[in-house]
């Protein structure tokens, strides 16, 4: 049996597994990725778009898939399972069973001839059984690896594929083989599945009625690459549905008929699906039946409002049942709980937002790994509050959805976190050193020799644009030496062909006419680099997003425009020049700003990876909110206990240098080499530090509610944080009636966001009040009960049982009124469920105040040159796939300064931020942005007009030479300065005037073209 050695084993290659593997591989560790399916990608690649940004899911996932497949430090095993793991952290031995696919991956070109020949049609699981595929198949067009697989359960062994395959890739004699590997640590990223409600919630008719779908099936129905090519039709008759409804919590939040937990993402994906439905067909009536609409992430509430404003109808109700009519429409019976009336309403299509459940195989895998799963089958952290990424066995870590429902951003953050933890048992291992840049070809030829590859993207382009005509036209263009039409230019196979064409024809420029350079540019640039062409010599023409998809009704203009875009790209290609790759050495230390849970966790994680850290806390003591909070949910652990544990951990690590009572005063430099000046305040020292990366963990604060809800007017009106302080100090007294008002200062015009943790905090504190003042009556005034996080729904229902609070659902448009009337505090509120105005006399009113970023954020953001939103929370580089990075390289964020979050999420994120920051620090060098601006000194008059245009302060006037100078690592390549220069002394690499004008001038082939 073969045995191979790696550093880390990653199990599962959805977005989490991919992120964990890339984070590790980028640090120089050798990673083995084991994926049970034929392609990597997981759930995300089956989605249409992603909330709340509505990014196209495959567009943002595909580049990561390709990056993973090509990473020199990653070995990918698909159609494989982990059978057994022996050993301990630092030296595990894993037995892996690789299923046979009966196709030789080395020979298969992904052409699909075999599938066309195969006579067996089977239900396509990727498309939720809404279409069929063959017994030999590719999971989806962008599959990685792009190799066909025989589904042996359905193959009849007829051999048709074998006869059709020109490369002889079919290998019926291939045998499954076991493989043993040694690794130091393991990341479990096996994600989750969605419930198919055929045994529970049968009254909704799933599996019996053709037009009742799960949300995942509906994603396929919306998807452009789905079974209907993105036209929204109902399965029974192919007609567009005029009325579509979603039922929430199908199998979730159910003590009976399902699972007790909240699946956390379905309120948002239903909202997203409804919104996209309206985009597809604005006249559709979209209705969502919900109990509590949990729109609690960053920008989620705004997204929900947008859907409501676009006409998505939200009905607060959990429908009773669904019946089918003779025309296969569906009648839903429900009570609108806000009016108290029972209705039967008919819809054409019904989507069930079914529970997120663990894969049934989790239990088997858990046995093989020797780790614990919870009652449902999700992998269980050893300590869910304090150590959410650590499984029950040392050296094995949990990423993404494997431990419970998580959206993409949280999955990615957790994956980075797990990657950081996975590094720790590897201490002392030799890392793979960074490969030198690939050798570049000689570009001796004076005339550019351009190769043009025109992609038909299956039917995505080919269906609307005459690709052969475009290719033939390209052949006639000046400088074009080679043209090829390809079916899927981004496939693995096409990369091989591009490289071969460059070699064979001695090409010096490559133009790919396909989709967007944003999503696919880097892939082709990498291909070019592999064949010795500098990435700067590559250009793309976006004939899919700009032609075929948007001019689908008329082939002629679409084709003409595609030809124009190719001509423009070729013209620009002629002007292209290599973009030099530059690297800078990195100071391998990190600055962490903020000493709360997030900052301390990040610092400790970095120290454990062997990195020196400077931890700066403004206050005289570490701990952040832990210095104020009483007990923590889940688990009712005293906050002081966690604080002591973390502080002890920080003090025990000699790599952490602590600056208390200190603030960042000045910052200059860039990734790899920042210079930070810390000021310890009056009487304290001023220190200058040299660091390679910065993690920002400055936390959050409660909004100032003075003047609202009677706050500030009477000491009996306090906030949750103040309540925590009283509970902690034991100064609560004995209130008999407590009114909690949730969403105080949230969900309104001024602050449209949802504070995400407020409902859970209120629930925890109701329990705490009940303990501290037995017999107290608690009124909870809420809009939607949005308890957030793993175990929280269960905690909420335990609280209901123990405390029996009076829950009053109020409407945001009619908020509760708090008044002080002859020394009594009175709360008046309209209960939308009772439909009564209630007047409550309270001994204590607790406001669940809106949360904002730290008060000092406006100053810090200027220093760091990063962006925030209107509530003072920092803005990440990409809401879905780069949640821990700032757009500015070398600076990372985590914890509640990004958005309010609970402690488990904060810890996961902080660990993840440490992973991100450790990449340049461990790697030891960073690359400079290749498209920076440069100064043509001979033309620069030193006028300085450009200087104020640079948002990054990258420009300065060189007093000696009287010309402008640009600090290369600081330049982000926006080109603003270039347009500002009156003497044409600035140029932007990759976007020179010459390159851009070449395109402009060829857009219509000059004025003579008519």
């Amino acid at each position: 049996m073969e045995t191979h050695a790696y550093d880390v084993l990653v199990i599962g290659a959805g977005i989490s597994g991919m992120q964990a593997a890339l984070d590790l591989a980028d640090k120089g560790y050798r990673v083995l990725v084991v994926e049970r399916q034929a392609s990597i990608g997981g759930t995300m690649v089956r989605l249409d778009k992603t909330f709340p940004t509505n990014d196209c899911a495959i567009c943002i996932a595909a580049p990561k898939m390709v990056e993973l497949a090509r990473h020199p430090n990653i070995t990918l095993l698909t159609s494989a399972q982990v059978e057994q793991v022996r050993g301990s952290a630092g030296s595990f031995e894993a037995l892996i069973w690789r299923q046979t696919t009966y196709v030789d991956p080395a020979k298969c070109t992904g052409c699909g001839d075999c599938a066309r020949a195969c006579p067996v049609e089977v239900a396509d699981l990727f498309n939720g059984r809404l279409s069929t595929r063959k017994a030999i198949f590719l999971q989806f067009p962008q599959a990685v690896p792009a190799v066909y697989t025989i589904d042996y359960r359905h193959c009849v062994g007829c051999g048709a594929c074998d006869r059709a395959c020109a490369t002889g890739a079919i290998a019926f004699l291939q045998r499954a083989r076991p493989l043993t590997v040694t690794v130091g640590s393991i990341v479990v990223a096996t994600g989750f599945e969605v419930l198919e409600p055929t045994t529970l919630r049968k009254e909704y008719g799933y599996g019996r009625f053709a037009n009742v779908l799960t949300a995942l099936q509906y994603e396929r129905l919306l998807s452009a690459s789905g079974p209907t090519g993105g036209t929204l039709t109902r399965p029974s008759d192919g007609q567009p549905p005029a009325r579509v409804a979603w039922i929430q919590c199908v199998g979730s939040r159910s003590l009976q008929g399902g699972y007790p937990y909240c699946s956390k993402i379905c309120c948002m994906y239903a909202t997203k699906e409804a919104l996209i439905t309206l985009e597809h067909a604005p006249a559709t009536r979209a209705t969502i039946f919900y109990m509590d609409l949990r729109a609690y992430g960053k920008e989620f509430q705004q997204f929900y409002r947008r859907a409501a404003d676009h006409g998505v109808r939200y009905i607060r109700s959990r429908p009773a049942e669904v019946s089918e009519n003779p025309d296969q429409s569906l009648t839903v019976s429900y009570e609108d709980t806000l009016t108290g009336t029972v209705h039967s309403e008919t819809f054409d299509l019904l989507v069930l937002s079914t529970a997120i459940v663990p894969a049934p195989e989790n239990r088997r895998l858990a046995r093989a790994l020797g780790v614990a799963v919870d009652a449902h089958g999700f992998f269980e952290p050893r300590d869910p509050l304090r150590d959410p990424l650590q499984s029950s066995r040392d050296g094995i870590f949990l990423a993404g959805g494997a431990a419970g429902p998580n959206d993409i951003a949280d999955s990615v953050a957790r994956a980075s976190g797990a990657a950081a933890r996975a590094v720790i048992p590897l201490s002392g291992r030799q890392r793979v050193t960074l490969a030198d840049p690939l050798p570049e070809r000689e570009l001796a030829a004076a005339e550019p020799r351009t190769g043009v590859f025109v992609c038909s993207c299956g039917k995505n382009i080919g269906g609307f644009v005459d690709v052969p005509t475009v290719a033939a036209y390209a052949r006639e263009l000046p400088g074009v030496a080679f043209v090829e039409a390809c079916t899927f230019a981004c496939s693995e196979d096409a990369q091989r062909r591009i490289k071969a064409a460059v070699e064979a024809n001695n090409l010096t420029r490559v133009v790919v006419a396909a989709c967007s350079p944003i999503t696919h540019g880097p892939l082709f640039q990498q291909t070019c680099a592999e064949v010795g062409l500098n990435p700067g010599l590559f250009e793309m023409a976006n004939i899919r997003n700009q032609c075929s998809w948007v001019h689908s009704h008329d082939r002629r203009p679409a084709t003409a425009k595609a030809a124009d875009l190719v001509r423009m790209a070729v013209a620009r290609a002629g002007q292209l020049a290599p973009l030099p790759a530059q690297h800078l050495a990195v100071t391998p230390t990190c600055l962490v700003i903020g000493g709360g849970v997030a900052g301390m966790t990040a610092a400790m994680t970095l120290a454990d990876m062997g990195i020196d850290v400077s931890l700066v806390e403004r206050e005289p003591a570490l701990g952040g909110k832990l210095n104020t909070l009483a007990t923590l949910a889940p688990g009712d652990i005293p906050a002081s206990e966690l604080r002591e544990q973390l502080v002890r951990g920080v003090l025990q690590r000699p790599r952490i240098r602590l600056f208390l009572g200190a603030e960042l005063r000045e910052l200059s430099g860039h990734i790899g080499n920042f210079r930070a000046v810390l000021d310890e305040g009056v009487g304290g020292a001023v220190s200058a530090l040299q660091v390679g990366a910065i993690i920002v963990a400055t936390g959050f604060r409660e909004a100032d509610l003075r003047g609202r809800y009677g706050y500030g007017a009477d000491p009996r009106v306090i906030t949750q944080l103040e309540l925590e302080r009283r509970l902690r100090a034991g100064t609560l007294g004995a209130p008999r009636t407590v009114v909690m008002i949730n969403c105080a200062g949230s969900l309104d015009a001024e602050n449209p966001g949802c504070c995400r943790i407020g409902c859970s905090v209120a629930v925890k504190n109701a329990m705490a009040l009940h303990r501290a003042a037995p017999g107290v009556s608690i009124f909870m005034l809420y809009q939607d009960m949005r308890v957030y996080g793993s175990g929280q729904e269960e905690y909420f229902t335990r609280m209901l049982d123990a405390v029996g609070p009076y829950r009053i659902r109020y409407d945001g448009g009619r908020p509760p009124q708090v008044t002080v009337q002859d020394r009594r505090v009175v709360v008046a509120v309209y209960d939308t469920l009772l439909r009564e105005e209630l007047v409550i006399e309270a001994d204590l009113v607790v406001l669940t105040a809106a949360l904002h970023g730290d008060a000092d954020t406006p100053r810090l953001k200027q220093l760091l040159k990063v962006a925030t939103d209107s509530q003072g929370f920092y803005r990440e580089a990409h809401a879905k796939i780069r949640p821990l990075d700032f757009a500015t390289d070398g600076i990372y964020l985590c914890g509640a300064d990004h958005y309010p979050r609970n402690i488990p999420d904060t810890i996961a994120q902080a660990t993840g931020a440490a992973s991100r920051a450790a990449i340049p620090l461990l790697r030891g060098r960073v690359s400079v942005e290749p498209i920076i601006a440069e100064v043509l000194a001979e033309r620069c008059s030193g006028c300085g007009i450009c200087l104020p245009h640079c948002p990054y302060g990258a420009m300065s006037l060189d007093p000696a030479r009287g010309v402008v100078a640009i600090a290369e690592v600081q330049c982000k390549g926006c080109g603003t300065c270039v347009a500002a220069c009156p003497s044409g002394a600035l140029q932007q690499r990759g976007f020179t005037d010459g390159q851009l004008l070449a395109m402009i001038e060829s857009a219509w082939e000059g004025p003579g073209h008519e």
């Binding site: 159910s254 009976q256 607060r316 109700s317 049942e321 009556s777 469920l833 105005e837």
Partner: protein, 134 residues
């Protein structure tokens, strides 16, 4: 209408009795409306089950004067679907029992027409008496 709820008027005896008799914890109700939409007789109820529960919890007056719990036949449909596994029919039975204890039987065999008595299956008669009398 505006209801004043005072700190010291919280002793909601009716709720306590109902919870004790039915063994159900009404605070657990999500107010989701599944029971109401499930009930085959909701149209005849002057207060659907979910609202009945809510009114009971808040101690609103007049619950015992309602007809709803006399309409409920204990078919268990709602109880099967309730996400919180609340046995609504037990709540209804508790209310019937309390009403009967306070105001006496709702039905007397003597009042029923002889023809009805003769034709009815015994289970109908006995069940009706069990649910309408003390």
């Amino acid at each position: 209408m505006s209801m004043t709820i005072r700190a010291d008027s919280q002793a909601n005896e009716l709720l306590q009795t109902v919870e004790a008799l039915s063994g159900q914890r009404l605070a657990a109700c999500y107010q989701c409306g599944t029971c109401a939409a499930t009930c085959p007789f909701v149209a005849a109820m002057d207060l659907p089950p979910d609202r009945l529960i809510q009114q009971l919890r808040f101690g609103l007056p007049g619950v015992l004067e309602r007809r709803a719990f006399w309409v409920c036949v204990g078919c268990d449909s709602c109880a099967e679907r309730c996400p919180r596994a609340i046995a609504v029919p037990r709540v209804m039975e508790a209310l019937r029992l309390i009403a009967i204890r306070e105001r006496g039987d709702r039905l007397a065999v003597a009042q029923l027409p002889a023809a009805t008595l003769r034709d009815l299956p015994p289970i109908a008669l006995v069940a009706s008496l069990r649910r309408n009398t003390g």
